[in-house]
């Protein structure tokens, strides 16, 4: 089957019920996408489908309907997305395992809600767990990214 990932078409020979997570990691080598729980309880596997955050561990590739973006497609080291830049500026990451999922969730969230309150940030990001406890820096980085994206 064919799927679009980060603006490029890929062809894979897999079963329909394979989770998108494993197609991305094992078949296509997008290792930014992390396995955490496998049941949409932790958010580590978050990618975007047509710009909407999705837990890729829960999405069978046969049910995929749209273009996939992983953090490799969000920006480049030379031209980072505002969310990625804010993550660097606030030095959000500690161990880093959950962080690509955090950024993919945050980016989708800011498209839906460009001027979020602190409570809305907390609610939006509560499904993305961070065992290092970087939540205060995640919230600060999202506020910085939101301001930048709004042109402030």
């Amino acid at each position: 089957m064919k799927l679009m990932v980060n603006g490029r078409e890929h062809e894979v020979d897999v079963e329909d019920d394979m989770p998108l997570l494993w197609v991305l990691r094992d078949e296509l080598g997008f290792t930014s996408v992390k396995y955490g729980c496998g049941i949409a309880q932790c958010g580590a596997c978050t990618v975007q489908v047509d710009g909407i955050a999705v837990r890729s561990c829960q999405l069978a590739v046969g049910d995929l309907d749209g273009d996939v973006t992983t953090i490799e497609g969000l920006g480049t080291p030379e031209a980072m997305h505002a969310v990625q830049q804010a993550w660097v500026d606030h030095q959000v990451a500690q161990c880093g395992y959950c962080q690509s999922g955090q950024m993919m969730q945050a980016t989708s969230f800011l498209v839906l809600n460009g001027t979020p309150s602190d409570d809305q940030i907390d609610a939006a990001m509560s499904g993305n767990l961070c065992r290092c406890g970087t939540y205060p820096r995640i919230r600060a980085a999202i506020k910085t990214a939101a301001a930048k994206l709004q042109g402030a």
Binding site: I39, Q41, I52, L59, D63, Q105, F109, N113, S126, G127
Partner: protein, 190 residues
């Protein structure tokens, strides 16, 4: 002819008019309420708090949905995180316990007017018979909705270790038909 006249005298008026008697309608309603008040349904049939619950999963009956989920005014989580981020739109047997259930429809909360949590039988009955508060269903459209809705059908076969609503979607639809044919009687009626 005489036999026909005799028969007319012994039949109750409701049968003559081809309408179930009120008592039958009330009995059907009590079964409908048993479903509507079940945690499998009241988990999502919540008011303007927009906070779904995780009852009927072995947790405390008042346990709210994890991850601080708030469906917001949009009822689909557009203000924070979309329901569909975890509740993928896909037909699934939902066999895995604790995984986010999937159905072949966009996951969302019902309208605020269909708040069933902590409501009495009389309150829900009055709400359900009024198209202004029952999501616009007129007459038997409500029964058709129950048969066709992926949400309703999932509630009776939720998969995994989730507790199902009592009965089946078809039984609920039939009870709704009886209740509507009887004139949508409610226990709160004078």
């Amino acid at each position: 002819m005489n036999r026909l006249v005799s028969l007319l005298f012994v039949l109750p008026a409701g049968v003559l008019a081809q309408e179930p008697p009120v008592a039958e309608g009330l009995a059907a309603w009590s079964r409908i309420y048993e479903v509507a008040s079940h945690p499998r349904c009241t988990n999502c049939h919540v008011g303007d708090s927009g906070r779904p619950a995780w009852a009927a999963l072995g947790y405390d009956p008042k346990w709210l949905h994890g991850m601080n989920v708030q469906a917001g005014d949009s009822r689909i989580g557009a203000e924070t995180v979309l329901c569909q981020t975890c509740h993928i739109t896909a037909a699934s047997d939902n066999a895995t316990p604790h995984a986010a259930p999937q159905i072949d429809d966009a996951w969302r909360l019902p309208p605020v007017a269909l708040d069933w949590r902590d409501k009495t039988s009389g309150e829900i009955c009055i709400q359900m018979r009024n198209p202004e508060t029952n999501n616009g269903f007129e007459g038997q459209e409500l029964a058709a909705h129950v048969r066709e809705s992926a949400f309703v059908n999932w509630g009776f076969e939720p998969g995994g270790n989730r507790v199902p609503a009592p009965g089946t979607a078809e039984e609920l639809a039939r009870d709704i038909e009886v209740w509507i044919a009887a004139g949508t009687p409610c226990t709160a009626d004078p």
